[in-house]
């Protein structure tokens, strides 16, 4: 009986292994995406060595004074240009930071954090869906949409 069991196991292994397994596959180009994350947030925690986003959300109130777009990059070893563009609900650009230079000395940095802040005029009608777009070295890297709702600055 044990002999039969071994034969069955060998047959099954042969079916799976014989058909498709290789032990060496083509080398790949290492992925170049350095973006760890991009978040929209209300506040910033600067108590540690690096900035951390606080109150991450995608919905804000028209009474909020500002909105931050926070980016975390990894493995940066060259000078990079970051740029934020903010678009209002009618799809018009309302803020363009221009290029912000990071790591001018071209050192190796394991983690880089940066953010841009959109100031809201609480007297304006800001309600609707907004978009913020982040570019790195003139190339699009990510967009984020968020909603601004009519409301109070204070949560009840």
């Amino acid at each position: 009986m044990k002999k039969n069991i071994i034969i069955v196991i060998l047959f099954v292994l042969n079916t799976f292994l014989g058909s498709c397994i290789t032990f060496k596959s083509d080398p790949l180009v290492f992925p170049d995406n350095q973006v760890e994350f991009i978040h929209l947030c209300k506040g910033m925690d600067d108590s540690g060595e690096l900035l951390e986003p606080v109150d991450i959300q995608s919905e804000f109130s028209s009474k909020d004074e500002h909105i931050n777009c926070f980016i975390k990059l990894k493995d940066v070893s060259i000078k990079i240009h970051l740029r934020w563009k903010w678009y209002s609900p009618d799809n018009k650009m309302v803020r363009d930071t221009g290029d912000v230079i990071i790591n001018q000395e071209e050192k190796y940095l394991g983690v880089v954090t940066a953010y841009d802040m959109l100031q809201l005029d609480t007297e304006d009608k800001n309600e609707g869906q907004w978009t913020v777009v982040v570019f790195m070295n003139d190339k699009f890297i990510e967009s984020k949409t968020f909603i601004i709702k009519k409301g109070s600055r204070f949560n009840i």
Binding site: M1, K2, I5, V8, I9, V12, C20, I21, T22, F23, K24, S25, D26, L28, V29, F30, P31, D32, N33, V35, E36, F37, K85, Y87, N91, K92, M93, T131, V133, K139, F140, I141, E142, S143, K144, T145
Partner: protein, 586 residues
């Protein structure tokens, strides 16, 4: 759809694809992009960065491209002085495509943290959204392992391909040699058939007390002639000579009527087989109510039938009328039990109270026994006072039984009243709260076997430090039998305390002790600890100590890997002295 890229990764855990410098075809365009994200489960496709769509002399570029390869529609977005959106594909159609949270959460680092993921330069997604990879490398918990020339990456746990599959061959010291196999055939929207074979060989074990071997075959086939007519065939066989088979035909007559006829043959062990012919229909007549009736006839003159009518009047009054009749053989004797039963239920519910009346009738024609049972239920919905701090409810049920058995006539009645009062947590200090619950119950019946029950629970909660809290419960329950002046009964008490520790997302635990104040005796203690280790690995333990027996009753230890569509668990149970490895689909 073929994806070619400098780097493509597929997460088996989450059924998601991430790619860099990718080229693919869409609606006769050659598309290239810097990055791509695909969530296979939700059919979400999103390319971004340096998007270029080429077709003969036409070249379009943009920053983001959301598309649906099945419907051939896409949305190309460019961010300049304003946001520009261009439809790609069918120009006339509306584009409901938009970015969602799934895409925000999908990232290269998320895929690389998967328990199982594959990388390669060429992936293929077919119309059934199965993903194939060519010359792919498998990463197991981040470690590079085997390579595959061609591999079905999305071969999920619940997916089936047409044909025969050997699902499991296993050997255990307790069950012997086990094998599970199945045959699946599906023709989309036409035929669906699954046959499963389970076989256990016990003769390889020494001193196995049961049968030397056992086989089960289960088969189920459905044929859809059209959307409203389908035919089914099921069959089950067990090697102990137990089997059954059923053929059914289901017809929908519009949205309101559904009819089914079926034939069932059932062969129990060592008994004569039974052949049942059945018919059932459900009529949904909207405002006129729902009617359902079912009848089954067995060729040895057995009958089962039922009828029900349900309707709602004036939005708050519910009416249900039901009736059933059965004539079933009693063993091998040749006698039949004949039972006719019926009931009427009328209920009314409002914001303040609910009222329900029932009348139930059971007539055993064989034993000449008639039971009729009217009931009346009246409940006051929970009402709140002191600004919602206190909540009270009262519920009453009255039952009258009338039993006639030949010459004997008997009746009795009972009434049960339940009162409940509870509070929301009352904060005496910022981190110190108390809440309690009182319940009283009075049961009265004709025979004077009356009971009075009461219970009181108090719960105290105190926050000690951030993420550390102590809770105490005291519970007293009393049940008294009252007959004339005699009062007897029991009282039980329980005092327990729980220390909860949750200082961070990675650590979660509690420790509880229970004490019997009446006997001044410690009873049991439970401890539970969860620690998040790394890369979605989690350690979990559960311990139970019995103070009365003075021993550890049980220790369960778990190491769990949460991995999207499945969980891998290593479990050790001290009680059964078992080590178990489980792969559980989620």
């Amino acid at each position: 759809m073929k994806l070619e890229g400098s780097y493509l990764a597929y997460s088996y855990d989450n059924r998601q694809i991430y790619g860099e410098n990718v080229k693919f075809n869409f609606f006769s365009y050659d598309v290239s992009c810097r990055y791509i994200k695909i969530d296979v489960t939700s059919r979400t496709f999103y390319a971004y960065g340096d998007i270029v769509l080429k077709k003969e002399d036409e070249i379009i570029s943009g920053d983001e491209f959301l598309f649906d390869p099945l419907k051939n529609i896409g949305k190309l977005i460019s961010y300049k002085e304003g946001v520009e959106v261009k439809k790609i594909g069918d120009e006339s159609s509306e584009i409901p495509l938009s970015k969602n949270n799934i895409l925000d959460e999908l990232s290269l680092s998320k895929i690389q943290k998967s328990f199982l993921y594959f990388t390669g330069k060429l992936f293929q997604i077919n119309k059934d959204f199965e993903v194939y990879g060519f010359n792919v490398t498998l990463y197991l918990e981040g470690l590079e392992s085997l390579g595959f020339k061609k591999f079905r990456l999305s071969g999920g746990i619940n997916q089936r391909n047409n044909g025969f599959s050997l699902n499991k061959i296993w050997y255990t010291k307790t069950q012997g040699l086990i094998s599970r196999a199945s045959y699946f055939y599906e023709k989309e929207n036409k035929i669906n058939s699954l046959t499963q074979l389970n076989y256990e060989e016990h003769s390889v074990l020494k001193d196995y007390p049961g049968l030397p071997r056992q086989a089960d075959v289960m088969s189920s086939t459905t044929v859809n002639f059209n959307k409203s007519l389908n035919l089914g065939l099921t069959g089950n066989y067990n090697s102990s000579n137990l089997w059954n088979t059923r053929v059914w035909l289901n017809k929908k007559w519009g949205n309101k009527v559904n009819t089914q006829v079926d034939v069932l043959y059932n062969k129990p062990i060592n008994l004569k087989g039974e052949t049942w012919l059945g018919f059932q229909s459900i009529i949904n007549a909207n405002k006129l109510g729902n009617i359902s009736f079912a009848g089954k006839y067995e060729i040895q003159n057995q009958v089962l039938s039922s009828f029900s009518y349900r309707n709602t009047f004036l939005k708050r009054i519910n009416f249900l009328l039901s009736s059933s009749y059965s004539k079933v053989k009693i063993g091998q004797s040749g006698d039949y039990s004949k039972i006719l039963s019926g009931g009427v239920n009328l209920s009314y519910s409002s914001r303040i109270f609910n009222l329900s009346t029932d009348y139930y009738l059971n007539y055993d024609l064989f034993g000449d026994q008639l039971l009729s049972q009217p009931q009346l239920r009246l409940g006051l919905n929970p009402f709140q006072f002191y600004g919602g701090l206190l909540s009270a409810s009262i519920y009453n049920i009255f039952i009258y039984n009338d039993l006639q058995r030949g010459e004997i006539h008997d009746n009795n009645y009972s009434n049960n009243t339940v009162f409940n009062l509870s509070t929301k947590p009352i904060f005496l200090q910022k981190s110190f709260s108390v809440n309690f619950n009182i319940a009283l119950e009075q049961f009265v019946e004709k025979e004077d076997r009356n009971f009075t029950s009461g219970g009181f629970i108090i719960n105290v909660k105190k926050g000690i430090l951030k993420g550390v809290s102590l809770e105490g419960f005291y519970n007293i329950q009393s049940r008294r039998k009252t007959k004339s002046w005699l009062i007897e009964g029991t009282t039980s008490q329980d005092l327990s305390t729980v220390l909860k520790v949750n200082p961070s997302k990675r650590l979660n635990g509690w420790l509880s002790f229970s004490f019997d104040p009446k006997k001044s005796q410690w009873r049991q203690s439970f401890a539970d600890l969860s620690i998040e280790l790394f890369r979605s690995w989690e350690f979990h333990s559960l311990l139970n100590y019995d103070f009365i027996l003075k021993k550890i009753n049980n220790v369960d230890l778990y190491i769990i890997r949460r991995a999207g569509q499945f969980q891998l668990r290593f479990i050790w149970r001290s009680l059964s002295k078992q080590f178990v490895v489980e792969l559980v689909p989620r």
